[in-house]
Structure formats: C-alpha cells, structure tokens
C-alpha cells in the first residue's frame, strides 16, 4: 500500500527528529559525515517505519529484512535511527566516536545492534548485499535485502562487479538505492569522476532503474513497491537528493561532507530543520 497523507505527516515528523538527532550527535562527536547522512534521511525513515520487516527486540531474527548501508560513512544518520527504533538507548550515542565507544563513525556490525554489515570502505556493501540475497535464495527464505549506495561510491569497480552479479543471478530479492546527492569529498561528482549517464549505466548492467526525488516519501514509496513486486530483474532506485538536506547553510556545500558544529550552529541548524519540516508537511509528499 502506497503511503497515505497521514503516514507522510508522521514520516516527516520522524525525519525531522532524525535530522535533529544527527545534529546532536555531530555536536557531541566533535564532527561527523553530516552532509551525506542528511541526504539519505527519507530513504531510511521510509524503509524502517513502513517497509522493513524487523524486530528491534530480536536483532538477529533470521527472517528479518536486511539493510546494508554501503555508504558506511552515513553511520551518523543510521545509528540514531536504530536507537529511535529501539535497538539501543539514544543516549548511548553521546559516546559516538569516543574512546572505547562501540560507535565508530563507520558502524561495526559486531558491536552495534541492528547493523547487518560492517561498512565504511566504499564499494563493499553491494557485494555483501548480493551475498545476503543469494543466501536467502539458497535457504528458500523470503526476506528482502536493501542496500543504500553513495553516488561517489559508484566510482568503485567492485560496485559494478556486484551489479553484474545481481543481474546475472536475477536477484529480485535485492533492492538497491543510490543516494544521488551529486557531491563527493573533492567536489561535484561530475567534476571529480563523472557518473552520467548514470541511469543508462545501471540499465546496461541489467538493472531496472527508477529515478525519484529522494526526499519525496510518495515517490520513494511508489518506487519501493514497484521494486518489491518486480520479478524480472534487480531494481535500483536512483534517489536524487540534496547533500546536507534540511540545513540551509549546508545544502549542496562540498565542505559539509564532514564537519563539526558549535552551539550556535546547532541552534541555527535545528531552526532550519524545523522550517524544512513545516514546508514538507504542507506539501504532503
């Protein structure tokens, strides 16, 4: 069932909370990969609050849907989501990046409940997600594997090795997202190492491509439901996003790939997130 207006309102509230959580953790940690965490918020919120079949009380439940955050530097956005879902206490995240903390900036699946794969080195997540999807097939299990890639990450050859395999093995139980925020550490993706024609590349590798506004719950929802029902081949959802989304002074700014916040900036950032949430709820998408 596609998202209803009522659901969208709730999802925006969750997204607003997650953005504020990201701000708080970035402040506590002294710095984090905040830009790319903010761009994938809607994808994570929609998957975890509407689509994924999970049980936070039983994080290793064998029939759960899996998530591989291939863009592992998005940990500062993923960890608070898991906390709010009940995998662990949100206050634990005051230790994010700290000495002896279970939470490094790239999350460790052996230390953080709810994390299905340790990621951080780019180009590793999609191959592991392919393996998980094959594992479900071998064991005749019906759960799904979701994988979120960064766009800059798609410079890595291993992503395309995995894409070939997903297509060869006709993995319709794998749903891949690319957070297409168009920026990487050294600048715009098309200046550093161009990805376009990006959708055509995925099509050439045998994927069915859905391009959506990655901040629109209704567009993301339609794409996810299409991917869940598609049985001809693997689907990739290219989610066009804005790096730093929701914080006006960070949006589309290369320098906010990684950064820290002082108390003054925290207040400015949260005010910006509130304004964004208000606008989003009026638009109802």
């Amino acid at each position: 069932m596609p998202v209803t207006d009522q659901e969208i309102r709730l999802l925006h509230e969750k997204a607003c909370q997650l953005r504020k959580d990201i701000i708080d953790i970035t402040y506590w940690a002294g710095g984090a990969h905040i830009g790319g965490a903010l761009s994938m918020v809607e994808m994570l919120i929609l998957l975890y609050y509407k689509y994924m079949n999970i049980d936070p009380k039983n994080p290793t439940w064998k029939d759960r849907d899996r998530m591989v955050l291939s863009k592992g530097h998005g940990g500062v956005g993923y960890a608070p989501l898991l906390a709010r879902k009940g995998y662990f206490d949100f206050q634990d995240l005051k230790e994010f990046n700290k000495f002896k903390s279970p939470f490094g900036m790239h999350l460790d699946s052996l230390k953080v409940k709810g994390v299905d794969a340790s990621t951080g080195s780019l180009g590793h997540g999609l191959p592991m997600a392919v393996g998980m999807a094959l594992g479900a097939r071998v064991q005749k299990q019906s759960w799904l594997t979701y994988c979120i890639l960064g766009d800059g990450e798609c410079n890595e050859g291993s992503i395309w090795e995995a894409a070939m395999a997903a297509s060869q093995f006709k993995l319709t139980n794998l749903i891949t997202f690319v957070d297409r925020n168009k920026l990487m550490i050294d600048g715009p993706t098309e200046e550093v190492m161009g990805l376009e024609p990006f959708a055509d590349k995925w099509k050439a590798f045998g994927f069915i491509v859905k391009e959506v506004d990655g901040h629109s719950f209704s567009e993301l929802s339609a794409a996810i439901e299409y991917a869940q029902s598609e049985k001809k081949g693997p689907v990739v959802i290219i989610a066009n996003t804005v790096k730093g989304k929701g914080i006006d002074f960070m949006e589309n700014q290369v320098k906010w790939h990684y950064g820290g916040l002082d108390t003054e900036l925290v207040e400015k950032a949260k005010a910006s997130v509130d304004r964004m949430a208000e606008q989003a709820m009026n638009l109802k998408n």
Partner: protein, 336 residues
C-alpha cells in the same frame, strides 16, 4: 569434526591437492547443506567446480571479479551459510584482500578460503601468478586462521577440520605438482597443533607445505650419513602457531631452521622467530624461503632447488647451522 566420514580412498599418487579438495568438498556438501561454494572463473582450475556440478543451486561463479567474490562470500556467511571460496592465492591475498580483511575477518565470518597455486607452485607463469606473500598477509589479519597443508592427504584433513572450526580460515595449496607425504589419513591432525614427523635432538626443522617432505627426506639422509638427530615439525598451521612446539624445540635442540615456499619476510619463519625472541632463550636460527625478491620463472621442482628448499638444499643448510659457533651449555639459568 564431521563424524561418520572416512577419507582413505584417495589415490594420492595421482590426485592433486586441489582434486582431493574438490572431492572432499563434495562429500562434505552432502553432509552439510549449509556449505556453499564460490569461485571467480577458476572453478575448474581450483577444482571447486566439482562441487558446483554436484550442487548447482549452492555454487556461484562470479566471473573474473575477486573483490565481489569475497564480498559476496561475506554476505552469504552473514545469512548462516558456510561459504568455501576458491581462486588462486595471488588473487585472494592481493586482488581481493581488502574484502578478505574488512568484510570477512573484521566481521569474523565463517568463510573458508581455499587458495590454489600458492607459493611458487605456478612457477612457469611468472610473478603475476606466484604468491609468495600470502602467509604474511593473511596471518596479519585478526580472527584469521592460516593453514598450509603438507600434501593432498593433509589438504583433505584440513578442509574437513575447517568446516566446524569457527571463523575465517585460509588454506593455501599448490597447483598440482606437489608430491605426497602422507600415505593415508591415519594420523592426528588438529588445527594449531604441530606434528612431529621425525624425532630429533640436535636441530629442529620447522616446515609447512611442500617443504615437509623435503625436510623429512633430509633428516633421514643426515641420520645415516652425518649421524645427526634432526627433528622435523610439520607446522601446517601458521596461525594460531603451536608456540609450545617451538619452545620445546628451543629447549631441546637449540638450533632451528624454518623452510617455506614463501618469502622469508612475514611468513612461517617470522612467526617462529617471534616466539623464539619472546622466549628470552638463546637459539641458533635461520629462515629459508624465497629471499626479498620476485621469484624467478621455472618449474616448481627447479625453483625449490634454486631456493634451497629441496632435500639437497636442506641438507646443506643443516650442516651450515650445525657448524655455527653457538653456546652449547645445558644450563639456561645463566642466560635468563
């Protein structure tokens, strides 16, 4: 250890290590539905293809894509399966090594990597296909177990043992010209436990892989011709190393030479050296292997001879070390 299987039917005179591995894996696959197989366009060369033919739904050939090979293996292991992954050692320990380290070892996953064409066993192929660095690389990864079986029979023992041995395991075998050392499987093989294949008190030769046979032959010759009592240890497991066996050799023989089809930097010899150094006891010690260079081209037996890893080379090296000027008193107390 899987019960109820016997492994004595191999014709070790005609089957290579890899062929025996393929056969063993097929039998293990019948017993254990959790075993899956993967290769990267080397299903035939590595002999895991035999498993693939028998269990097509449990075998994945990912093409010539080793990074993906090990990443996919990690994903499969995450779902509770036991992936056996085979490609050449060079493409395991180098091309796909970050995935081995970060996806498999860091997450302590139950992947069993059986790497073929290790050391100089594909000698005529040249440096691109030699792999004289894998022991050093693999043993540096936390959680990893590293095994170099002496021959085909021991490959069967190691493959069988690794199924129920928790965590990632790396087993390196040759290309197919490795002579047999063991006649059958009627001996005790335990991961992490050295096997004394020849008793001795004058000097200890610590070996793995193809050098075990050569050292055992050398020990026989030296007994008959030089009257030397040479201990030979089959140190099939490089990690976790059997430190007790090394310390016993230090105490009992006080002269140790290591022999390995691998660079002398970071492999078996270095692992043994760490234990000797930490013991605080004096010991004459030499590492023999491929020196700090890229191995020359040639057939494995010629390379073995060139790098003094054959029987003649080992005999020469033992005589050299026996002639080293080294304090021979039996009293450790004055040295501690």
């Amino acid at each position: 250890m899987t019960e109820g299987l016997t492994w004595t039917v191999y014709d070790a005179d005609t089957m290579t290590q890899a062929e025996i591995y393929g056969e063993v894996l097929c039998r293990l696959g019948e017993e254990n539905p959790k075993i899956v197989g993967l290769s990267a366009d080397l299903a035939n060369s590595t002999k895991i293809g035999k498993f693939g033919k028998k269990f097509p739904d449990r075998f994945f050939n990912v093409g010539i894509a080793e990074q993906n090979l090990f990443g996919v293996s990690a994903g499969l292991a995450k779902t509770g399966l036991i992936p056996f992954v085979s490609t050449m050692a060079a493409f395991t320990a180098m091309r796909g090594v970050e995935q081995v380290r970060t996806d498999i070892c860091y997450q302590n996953l139950n992947c069993k990597i059986i790497a073929t064409h290790a050391g100089t066993s594909f000698g005529s192929a040249g440096t691109t296909h030699h792999c004289t660095e894998d022991l050093a690389i693999m043993r540096s990864f936390a959680n990893m177990t590293v095994i170099a079986p002496a021959d085909g029979i021991e490959t069967a023992k190691a493959v069988k043992a690794c199924v129920d041995y928790p965590g990632p395991v790396y087993i390196r075998i040759g290309r197919g010209f490795e002579p047999k050392f063991y006649e059958n499987e009627d001996y005790d093989f335990q991961i992490g436990k050295a096997i004394e294949v020849n008793e001795g008190t004058d000097i200890t030769l610590i070996c793995c892989g193809v050098t075990v046979l050569q050292a055992a032959e050398a020990a026989k010759f030296l007994k008959e011709n030089d009257g030397l009592s040479v201990r030979v240890l089959n140190m099939h497991t490089i990690k976790p190393l059997d430190e007790e066996a090394v310390l016993a050799a230090v105490t009992d023989t006080r002269r140790i030479i290591t022999f390995e089809d691998h660079t002398v930097l970071g492999g078996l010899g270095s692992a043994v050296a760490d234990v000797i150094a930490a013991s605080g006891k004096g010991c004459a010690f030499v590492k023999v292997g491929i020196p700090d260079c890229y191995c020359i081209v040639g057939y494995p037996e010629d390379l073995c001879s060139h790098y003094k890893l054959d029987t003649d080379g080992i005999i020469d090296k033992v005589r050299e070390v026996m002639n080293m000027d080294f304090e021979e008193d039996d009293d450790w107390e004055d040295e501690v």
